[in-house]
């Protein structure tokens, strides 16, 4: 077993149940169907990857 030595502070304790989420947004010109902007909001993640997220920074 190895022990990692670091100056980093320990992670904060996990706080109770939370809901976090985000959006995948398309802005589409109706007349042409052209996507003029695609945005993934800060807390969005690919639902297929099921990636655990970092603790939110409050």
């Amino acid at each position: 077993m190895s022990i990692e030595v670091t100056n980093e502070p320990p992670p904060p304790p996990r706080k109770g149940p939370r809901i976090r989420g985000g959006c995948h947004v398309l802005l589409v010109k109706e007349s042409t169907g052209e996507i003029i902007q695609e945005t993934k909001t800060p807390d969005w993640f690919d639902v297929n990857e099921r990636v655990p997220r970092d603790e939110p920074k409050y």
Partner: protein
């Protein structure tokens, strides 16, 4: 202020009251009675408030309408089983399309899910901020694509 997402501050309080059996608890939406609204600003991680977000108005965008996004297909949510290390992941089942903007160009800074059809009033249960708000010119639709448009995790 930093972008945020999840339950609004008001929902945090009412749900807490509910689970401890206190008064002023959470009032569930009616079946299928949840609607996606658009907001000009981020609701922010600090206030988590639709008042900070400022919802779009029909007076400014004549086509604006909260979009049904409740519990019943095809407007509902796909809710996965709890997974260790992840939690419960839930996402929109179908695409959510806001009618193309009319009258005045808008800015979208966050999304909020209301328990009333609106276009005003009701309570916002949860929200997701854009981070950097996006300009929405006249003639442009705001679309959340099917399955990937909005993803929440309860954990």
């Amino acid at each position: 202020m930093a972008a945020g997402s999840g339950l609004t501050a008001t929902a945090d309080t009412s749900i807490t009251n509910t689970i401890v059996g206190a008064s002023s608890g959470y009032s569930s939406p009616t079946v299928n009675g949840l609607y996606c609204g658009l907001y000009t600003n981020n609701m922010t991680a600090s206030t988590k408030s639709p008042t900070t977000g400022v919802e779009w108005l029909v007076a400014s965008d004549g086509a604006y309408a909260r979009q049904k996004m409740g519990s019943v297909s095809p407007f509902g949510w796909t809710i996965a089983a709890y997974a260790n290390g992840t939690g419960v992941v839930w996402n929109n089942t179908s695409a959510v399309t806001q009618p193309a903007v009319t009258l005045n160009a808008q800015t979208v800074g966050s999304f909020g899910w209301n328990d009333a059809a609106g276009p005003t009033g009701g309570n916002v249960n949860m929200f997701a901020d854009m981070g950097t708000p996006a300009a929405v010119p006249i003639g442009v639709q705001v679309i959340l694509p099917a399955a990937t448009g909005v993803v929440f995790t309860t954990y």
